[in-house]
Each structure stands twice: as structure tokens, then as C-alpha cells.
């Protein structure tokens, strides 16, 4: 049943998490019944090719997941441009794309405007968003018009292998993430003593162009290191499944919230993070730091939002299923 599990995994990836488990359980029961019926007719177990034939008749995982969309929405302009099967994926891709564009614009537009001495106009902000919207929509319209040709040509035997179950023991990815986190924390903790770890040979310039950090910098720095250490401890607990999954996720959410607070407090200090006798160097150093901070905050905010939503939906699933 490895092929069936891989198929269901591919369908599940495209389903809304609130209804995912329920839909997958129902699909599994229906497909298994169909396979058993076929085995009964043939009087022997199905070969992999026969299982693949049954799954192929069910259709491309993306298409079938799209048909479970509650609202059955599409994009139409006179005629239908994007059908309900692809619309949920289109919506997700478009939102991610526009959010990334907004984050990049928030960091880049002020810097560019300052560099060229121009004002931040509405056109400068809206034009990239309109272009992104147009490109993503065009790609999906073309995909939708050719979905018969593109999405029907799929082979269940080429579906991705099964992912490790989070309830199982530690896997290679968990171990790698933990080690990378440990190395990163250690690296950050050691940079004040050995600045070349952060700047490489560029550390020599620090002696030539002394940069003075803001007075509260040391408190912020150690708060960030302490936060990373706490994340590392949580990572260790998660790696060896020493905490229930939901509890670990709530602690992760708390730490992400603390990270957001530190980031926001740092943002309030903008743009006076560094000072130098060379005014231009200080301006660029402050702007670069601000851009990195905004990007880090946006990534943290995105992760926090996703985790919060996922925990909220899990809470819904913990309520016993509606019985009729």
C-alpha cells in the first residue's frame, strides 16, 4: 500500500489543514474498498501497475484536492480563466508572492528613494505589486488552459516518497536542523570576541573605521543569544520527543513571540544603531541593519502567523467529529 500512501500524502499536501485528516481517511477507505473489490474479482493481490491504474483513474492529486475546495471559487473575466481545481493553489501562490514583494519593497523602496533622492510615490509601491499579480495570474491562466495536457500526464509511481512521521524517532532533517541551530548560536555568541567570524577579513576595517554601537546594544545582543539558546533547548526536547507535540509547538510560539518583541524594540531604536566619525559609513551601516531587521521580523511574523493558525486549527480538530 506504499503507492496508496504516497498518493494520499500528495493529495493531503494540497488540502486545507482543518479538513485534511477527515478527507484523507474517507479517500483511503474508498480506495481500499475499490482495491479489495478488484482483488476479489482477480482472486489475487493487485500488482503495483494495477494499483497505479486505480489511482490514475482517481486523478492528479492536485486536481482532486482542488475539487474538495469548500467554496468552489474560480477566476473569471467574461469566461472562466482559472477553474476551481487550480484556484486554491493560485490563491496561495499569489498571497505568498505579494507578501514577499511587500517585505522586499518595505526594505528596498526607502533605501532606493534615499539613494536617488526621490520621493516614495504610490506608483513606485503599487507598480511592482501589479506586475507580480499579472505574472502569477498569467502563468496560472496558461496552466489552467493546458491542465488537461499537463496535469493528466502523471504517474502514481513517480509520486514523492513518504515523509517521516513526526511521531517517529528523530530523522536526518531534525538532527541537521538542531546541529545547524547549535553552530549558529555558538557563532553569534563568539562574534564579539572574534569579530572576524562575522566580517571575515573585513574585521580589519573596524580598526580603521571605528563603529560605535548604540548604548543599549549589549542588552539586545544578549537577549538574542539567550533566545537562541532557549530555542536550542526546545529543539533538543523536540528532537528526542521529550515533550508532547502540541506543548512543544506552544513553547515554540512563545519563543517566536519573544523574538518579535525584541525585534520590535530594536525597530523603535531605528535608525541609530551605529555611529561613526564617517557619516556616510554610519548611514549605510544603519540602513543595512534596518533592512535585515525588517526582513527578519517579516520572516518571524510569517512563521508565527502560520504556527498560530495551525495551532488554532488543531484545536478545532481536537473537538470530537460531529456525529449525526
Amino acid at each position: 500500500m506504499n503507492l496508496l500512501n504516497r498518493y494520499l500524502q500528495a493529495v493531503a499536501k494540497c488540502l486545507p489543514s482543518a479538513r485534511r485528516d477527515d478527507i484523507i481517511a474517507e479517500l483511503r477507505a474508498n480506495i481500499l474498498s475499490q482495491m479489495e473489490d478488484r482483488e476479489h474479482e482477480l482472486g489475487r493481490p493487485l500488482t503495483e501497475d494495477e494499483q497505479a491504474d486505480i489511482l490514475r483513474r482517481y486523478g492528479n492529486p492536485t486536481i482532486i484536492a482542488g475539487r474538495y475546495s469548500e467554496h468552489n471559487l474560480g477566476l473569471a473575466f467574461g469566461r472562466q480563466l482559472i477553474g476551481p481545481e487550480l484556484f486554491p493553489i493560485y490563491k496561495t501562490v499569489l498571497i505568498i508572492n505579494l507578501l514577499i514583494t511587500v517585505v522586499v519593497l518595505a526594505g528596498v523602496v526607502p533605501i532606493v528613494a534615499r539613494a536617488i533622492g526621490g520621493a516614495i510615490t504610490l506608483t513606485r509601491v503599487l507598480m511592482p505589486l501589479a506586475v507580480q499579480f499579472g505574472i502569477v495570474t498569467l502563468i496560472f491562466v496558461i496552466l489552467d488552459q493546458n491542465k488537461g495536457r499537463l496535469l493528466d500526464k502523471w504517474d502514481p509511481r513517480r509520486l514523492p516518497a513518504l515523509k517521516a512521521n513526526p511521531e517517529d524517532g528523530p530523522n536526518a532533517q531534525d538532527i541537521f536542523t538542531f546541529i545547524a541551530g547549535a553552530v549558529g548560536t555558538l557563532w553569534l555568541a563568539l562574534t564579539p570576541r572574534w569579530p572576524y567570524l562575522l566580517l571575515g577579513p573585513g574585521a580589519l576595517y573596524l580598526q580603521a573605521i571605528p563603529l560605535k554601537l548604540m548604548p543599549q546594544w549589549i542588552e539586545f545582543y544578549w537577549a538574542i543569544v539567550a533566545l537562541l539558546c532557549a530555542q536550542l533547548v526546545l529543539g533538543f526536547f523536540r528532537l528526542f520527543r521529550l515533550l508532547p507535540r502540541r506543548q512543544a509547538r506552544i513553547m515554540d510560539l512563545t519563543l517566536k513571540g519573544v523574538g518579535l518583541c525584541i525585534g520590535l524594540l530594536l525597530l523603535l531604536k531605528a535608525p541609530n544603531y551605529v555611529s561613526s566619525q564617517y557619516q556616510e559609513v554610519a548611514v549605510w551601516a544603519n540602513l543595512s541593519f534596518l533592512a535585515c531587521l525588517i526582513l527578519a521580523l517579516a520572516i518571524n511574523l510569517w512563521g508565527t502567523g502560520r504556527l498560530l493558525l495551525s495551532l488554532w486549527r488543531e484545536r478545532d480538530q481536537m473537538v470530537p467529529a460531529r456525529q449525526h
Binding site: L32, I63, I64, Y68, A321, Q323
Partner: protein, 112 residues
């Protein structure tokens, strides 16, 4: 996209009929796979990827009710018509018979 007008119109005609057929078949309880088999046995083939999501939509609209139950050592989701579904089926069947009668009359008149 380049399907013939006949295919497109047949699809449209089928779409409405499928809902009617599913509602009618669910006067008796079925789970997804046996429902598909029952419809196919009565001459109405329907793709799994169309039928199973349709059942969910009809349930969301309050026309079906469902229940997870174990059968043959496996949990299955059984569907049947709700009270509202029964009422709607009666109304739709009335419409269906009226339309059939009208169509027959139109065809008879056009022959004359």
C-alpha cells in the same frame, strides 16, 4: 478546452442530473465507494474525483448527513439524505418530471 459543443452541452446536462441521481440514491445509506457502484449499476458512471467532493458539498449544504462507522474492520463514512435533502429531492423530482413532460410536448408539437 477544444471539446465539441455536444460534449460541452452533455457535460452541462449531466451536472444537474448527477446531483439528482446522488440524492435519489442516498435515500438508502451508502459510503462513497458503494454509492459509486450503485450508480454505475443503474447506468450512471461517475468519476470518483467528482463524486466524493460532491458528497462533501451536499453535506455542507445540509442535504446529506454522514456518520463514521466501522464496517468490515474499517472505518467508513456513511451518507444518507437529511430531512432537508428529502424535501429538496421531492421538489427537484417534480421539476424533473415537469421538464420531461414539457420537453415531450415540445417535441411532439415540432413533429406535427
Amino acid at each position: 478546452m477544444s471539446e465539441s459543443p455536444f460534449e460541452n452541452l452533455k457535460l452541462e446536462l449531466r451536472r444537474g442530473c448527477l446531483v439528482l441521481a446522488v440524492l435519489a440514491q442516498l435515500r438508502a445509506e451508502h459510503y462513497g465507494y458503494t454509492l459509486r457502484k450503485a450508480l454505475a449499476n443503474d447506468g450512471l458512471e461517475i468519476e470518483e474525483s467528482t463524486l466524493y467532493p460532491l458528497l462533501r458539498r451536499l453535506e455542507t449544504q445540509g442535504l446529506l448527513i454522514s456518520e463514521w462507522r466501522e464496517e468490515d474492520k474499517r472505518n467508513k463514512r456513511f451518507y444518507r439524505l437529511s430531512k432537508e435533502g428529502k424535501l429538496l429531492l421531492e421538489q427537484l423530482l417534480d421539476e424533473w418530471y415537469n421538464m420531461g413532460t414539457s420537453l415531450k410536448r415540445i417535441l411532439r408539437e415540432s413533429k406535427v
